[in-house]
């Protein structure tokens, strides 16, 4: 258990360092793009009005002072006030986070629930028509651009067939304090298309991973022995083969989940889904530095958290990886 704690501590230390470097880069980066004031103040502003705005936003100080002030406030949990929205940046992002999480989790669930059985099927019957169709379909998942598939989904299911709404998020209920739209059928109807669109790439990825892993595992000795022992195929596949497939799969799903949360921007834009990705792009467009910094901080934390979770899951799944007190870490993913 001590080893586990060391692992967690190391991870948190690493992410603190990443946060520091990243916030510095964003500060300098936004400064290099342009002057937030040139966009924020009204075009007719006099120098006094511009100076007043600069004072109110803390932009009149030299950059290093602004950065130090930011660090000082960040340590107290205050990531600054959005220039454009006039509200705390953190609150803005947390308000949007549930929508993005909802989308990302649904997409991941769709990818897993469809991906593993399809991948297994294709792996068990690599030369059958069905197996090859699955593989051909997965190529589409890789190669078609998300925004185009999204538009086609809208065209087909919303405009042509009229089954599902074209965009937006359904009515929101409070579930355990989180505003979620999963509580009503209307919410699901809104979620289905964007989640499917977001799931497509990962679905293809999982199918290919599972299939490759399956073909590989079926040739291993332990499967032969299991069959020789007369074990039921359901048990061979469901327990022995699948369990060995899970390790690489979890790594990929974990990484993909992180990037889905961070960069679901394309899907969110096409489906007018009020998530965090849209907030980031809008903020970059108006150089809303506090929001950009806060957003990236949250994303770094999320990635760290997910990686940690993946590591812990490894240990749970694979006894060989359980850290003994002598060799306390297995940090790589």
């Amino acid at each position: 258990m001590l080893g586990m704690l060391v692992l967690i501590a190391r991870r948190l230390g690493q992410s603190a360092l990443v946060l520091l470097v990243m916030s510095l880069l964003v500060f300098v980066g936004v400064f290099a793009i342009g002057d937030p004031l040139a966009i924020l103040v009204s075009p007719d502003a006099t120098p006094e009005e511009i100076a007043r705005s600069a004072r109110e936003l803390g932009l009149q100080q030299p950059l290093w002072q602004q950065y130090l002030l930011f660090l000082q406030q960040a340590l107290q949990g205050n990531l600054g006030r959005s220039f454009a929205h006039g509200e705390p940046a953190m609150a803005l992002i947390l308000e949007r986070l549930p929508a993005t999480l909802e989308l990302a989790i649904s997409a991941t669930v769709i990818a897993i629930v469809l991906g593993i059985p399809l991948g297994l099927w294709a792996g068990l019957r690599p030369r059958s028509l069905s197996g090859q169709s699955i593989m051909a379909g997965s190529i589409l998942g890789f190669s078609l651009p998300t925004f185009w598939v999204g538009l086609m989904l809208i065209m087909l299911f919303s405009v042509w067939l009229g089954w599902l709404p074209a965009s937006g998020r359904g009515p929101v209920q409070s579930v355990l304090g989180l505003p979620l739209s999963l509580g009503s059928s209307e919410g699901w109807r809104h979620l289905l298309l964007p989640a499917l669109n977001l799931a497509l790439f990962k679905l293809a990825l999982i199918i290919r991973l599972v299939r490759a892993g399956c073909i590989e595992a079926l040739r291993q000795d332990y499967v032969r022995f299991a069959r020789a022992k007369g074990l039921h195929p359901r048990r061979i596949i469901g327990v022995h083969v699948l369990k060995n497939l899970l390790l690489p799969l979890i790594t990929v799903i974990g990484l993909e989940f992180g990037s889905v949360i961070a960069f679901s921007i394309v899907t969110e834009t096409i489906f007018a889904w009020p998530g965090m990705g849209k907030l980031l792009i809008d903020s970059i467009n108006v150089l809303d530095r506090p929001v950009i910094v806060a957003y990236l901080c949250i994303i770094v934390l999320l990635f760290t958290l997910i990686n940690l979770l993946v590591d812990l899951l490894y240990v749970l799944l694979d006894p060989r990886l359980r850290p003994s007190t002598a060799t306390p870490q297995r940090a790589g993913t």
Binding site: T46, R52, P126, M155, L156, V159, S167, L218
Partner: protein, 571 residues
Amino acid sequence: MKTHRDLNQPWLKSGALLLPRFHCLSACLFSCLFCCLFACLHAFSLPVLAQDARDAREGRDDARSTLRIGMAADITSVDPHLSNISPNNQIGWHVFEALTHVDDNARLVPGLASSWRAVDPRTWEFKLRANVKFHDGTTLVAKDVLASIERARKLANGQFAGFTRTIIAAEAPDALTVRLRTAAPYATLPHDLNSIFIIPARLMNASSEDFNAGRAMIGSGPWRFERYARGDRVELSRFDGHRDAARDAARDAARPSSWNKLVFRVLSNDPARSAALLAGDVDIIEQVPPADLEKFNKNNNLTLSRKTSWRTIFLQLDHSRERSPHITDRKGGAIANPLRDVRVRSAISKAINRAAIAARVMEGAAVPAAALVSPQIFGHPPAKDLSPETFDADGARKLLAEAGYPEGFNLTLHAPNNRYVNDDQVAQAVAQMLTRIGIITKVEVMPANVYFTRARNGEFSVAMLGWGSFSADLALRSLLMTPSAEKGLGTWNWGGYANPRLDQLIERSLSTTEEAKREALAREAMLLAMRDHAAIALHHQISTWAMKSGLKLQPRTDEYTLAGSLSLQRP
């Protein structure tokens, strides 16, 4: 045992794929899929089936009682005094009112003030309407107006402070009279006050959070605030205490155009906005993407509505520098700034085929411009005095030669690529036209957040800008008056155009309180600036809305989509 047989399949013997077969199959699948999708694309031109189906499901009545508007840009806050951007203002115009309003052509009409007059050149007096109710039931009085002006002036990072800049004293002689004093005679105060939404005095110290959460969203407008879901929607419900509602009710008890609910959906992605309309998710969308215009036009279930916008696109020129950073001679050597010669400026203007840009690059969604404000705007010179420059490449070459540039020169034109409709393509077209007369023009485009910082710093030689203004004199004050930082004049005149006669005309126009005299002066000023080619006007954008047929829109030149401008046509 079937499963056993399955397990005995060739995966033990060979895991390899039969590649040729595999490719055949995927090719088949690809082609099937593309056929399907091609059919889907054609759904655009098919009658909108989904919409009818949904109407039937929801019942006609329900569809009538809620109006859903698809907006093209995101609402950053519903605080009426924070950000002066059109999506925020559009919500504001439903929930709040201002002392003065503007009509479809941006001409002033009474708002909360039923009348106003200049008591003396430095004092404006506004008479408020009696018995105007706020949504909380209180009645509008003069001190609400004073508090709103004060909040706009003081709000941290508020973008409306500039509209209160000239007011040095405000008083309320009685409950329905407001007197505002300015340091110098100032004719456009009624225009400026069009931008200050009136809130109850008790909310003077409310924060932006209070407004965004709805606690402070109390106005006197025709719609009551219900909900703001950031990045997604704003929901409003009808306020029966508004004078329009009372008037409508008196005219016709069952007037179909009085919706009970209003939903603004943020659909900033162009194809998504179009799809939402086609799918029947919204009833009307603004800023129809130019590429969809033709398809929508052919669709019997949709109606289009167009109006020349007040947004005018033009080129600003570097007038002040001896040498301009992006201009060289044909061999790349430094030369004196040719843009300071009016003949060169005139040549540039003549070289541009505005009709072609409007028809081709803008796909018909623009009209050639003669001035820096649209023709319907206060102070645009009448057509007999000023019309769009006719395309004349030969004349342009002749002028260039006369000015001492028979060979032409090299120029870089700067433009944003995500701010105005087809902005980068317009820049490319202009560059080709200039190159044709010998001004070899390169184009450099960049995102708006980079572009405007650099433009304000005067880093460009020729730069594209778009501007929407209530009046010609106001536009000229920002764009072409000799820059004076202290007075807030010429704030966007980065090119440093300085013409004492123009300054004097604008100053006189802005301080003339008599409407007709002021318009004459404003026209004279615009005429003077355009004859000197101080800036090169390109085109006025045409805003387009698309809506379900059966809806009728009275389109506005200021591009706002107001529920009050919409009505249901009787079948």
